[in-house]
């Protein structure tokens, strides 16, 4: 009834996406939070695009970018001996791209909320950039990073359009739980579709609610100061 392969694949994809994306998102968010420069709205707009574009549009461009005729596609084929499109690696690349706003924005807001006085105090305390980042900024931005991780995870579990465009429907390789639900519905297996849909709903609800609760508790502790 349950397509456990698809469920495991989705969980795996969500985890890998989160692990790949978070460090990149933290670096980009920190940079955007503290660096004023011309054209910043364009960079921020570019990173927010996945929020507003239809998944098919993102999927289409990703497919072109990963295709055997693109430099990325050719390079990947030369290194890995398989095409990037319609593979698990391709799905990871696509997931990372369409999750960028979900990961970058909460972290950027968190870094922006750290007052410049605190950063300057850290410098005057003799801390190097990395010491200040590790001891002061990262712990203070932690609620934002947690939000980003959870949103990325939950959003990857539920993504459908981009995955279908880039990955197709290969069991064990690119068939995620969202696509499995679609499949079951198409073949009138509503019992299986319903069970998996409920599972996905519950997982998403629990992760988001727990993370909101955690973030809220962290923030309330901070806000008093």
């Amino acid at each position: 009834m349950m397509d456990w392969t698809a469920i495991a694949l989705s969980a795996n994809l969500a985890l890998v996406t989160m692990l790949v994306l978070l460090p990149l998102a933290i670096a980009a968010a920190r940079w955007l939070a503290v660096t004023p420069f011309r054209g910043k709205p364009w960079i921020e707009g570019l990173l927010a695009l996945p929020l507003v574009l239809p998944p098919t549009v993102i999927g289409y461009y990703l497919l072109i970018a990963m295709g055997a005729h693109s430099p990325l596609g050719r390079w990947f084929e030369a290194v890995a001996g398989q095409t990037l499109a319609f593979s698990f690696s391709g799905l990871v690349v696509a997931s990372v791209v369409f999750n960028i706003p979900f990961a970058v924005q909460p972290v950027q807001r968190a870094f922006e909320a750290i007052s410049p006085e605190i950063r300057e105090a850290a410098q005057c305390c003799g801390l190097t950039f990395w010491q200040a980042f590790r001891k002061i900024e990262l712990p203070l931005a932690w609620p934002g990073i947690l939000s980003a991780a959870v949103l990325t995870f939950a959003h990857t579990l539920g993504e459908f359009g981009v995955v279908l465009m880039v990955g197709g429907n290969i069991p064990g390789e690119t068939k995620t739980v969202a696509i499995a639900i679609y499949d079951k519905t198409q073949s009138f297996d509503t019992a299986s579709a319903g069970a998996m849909a409920l599972l996905l709903l519950l997982i998403s609800l629990v992760t988001i609610a727990v993370s909101y609760g955690l973030v809220d508790r962290l923030m309330r502790k901070r806000r008093a100061s």
């Binding site: 006085e117 410098q123 002061i136």
Partner: protein
Amino acid sequence: MTLRLDLHHGGPPLDFRADLPKGVITALVGPSGSGKTSILRAVAGLLRLKRARIAMGDEVWDDGRLHLRARHRPIGFVPQHYGLFPHMTALGNVETALTHLPAKERRARAESCIALAHVAGLETRYPRELSGGQRQRVALARAIARDPRLLLLDEPFSAVDRSTRKRLYLELRRLHEQLHTTILLVTHDLDEAAQLASHLCLIRHGRLLQQGPTAEVMARPRCEEAARLLDIPNVFEGEIEEGDPAGPFLLWGPHRLRTTGQRPEETGSRQRWAVLPTNVLLARTDKPWGSHLENPVPALVEDVVLMGGDAVVWVRPRGLPEERVQMRLPARAVRRYSVVSGTEVTMCLRAADIVLLRESRP
């Protein structure tokens, strides 16, 4: 070892040059937007200016090419809102400034700084659990932890109530007596500067108007802008009459006032001058003789306002219907000599108290 500053910046304009004495508290005083915080941040190494030279004794911190980073300067910095790390306890905050020490020595050093700043017993509290005054003390403890040669304080008393502020003044003076660190204090509050600093720099529009020992600057502004900044209401214009061996005389309407001291050279015969309200004396009607009768000017009392033990009295000097002079007298003198509006009095301006002002540069 003096702190030598030469700072220039286009916009907002900054054109500041000063030598600050070692081991004393120097106050940078000016209205908001005068550039005093920029100066402090430049000294801290947090702000890089187009043209700057900052040297502590022979040690150059900034000279156009070289720019020593904040973390390499022997400074302690207390920002306006203290910049405490909210996720660390008071002790953690102070220990964070001690990464240059071996880990096992940090605790003892942090605890001794906390004791010096009068916050012993609050080591395990987080900033949110501290009052404004306690936060300021923790920030001070953190700033002195690295044994800085220069302590930079940016309006450190602006966020606490009046009674706490007075206590913190005392504590800062005591701390300074113990450490003898050179302190640079930014404030817009003249009273605060007068109580804490023995050296004063007056700043306006990014430019140094005057610097020197606090009492001297406060009593003898050099130019009209400085007088206004020091909140001296009595600024007038007269005419200089030279050639008298008794000193230059100031012709002020029908009055001829003897003055002492140097006359600023660039003015013509017109001369702006000032006198502090506390230096305008009232001739006693019961003792119409004595040295206090220097430069007597008859005047008409226009208004009297009692403020605590003091009285602020406005008088109109005879023959000068446009001018009003403010006096500050003890309230009991006002009562004893029945100074009420409408009475005729004689005010006296001692020659040494008449301050001849330079023209303010535009």
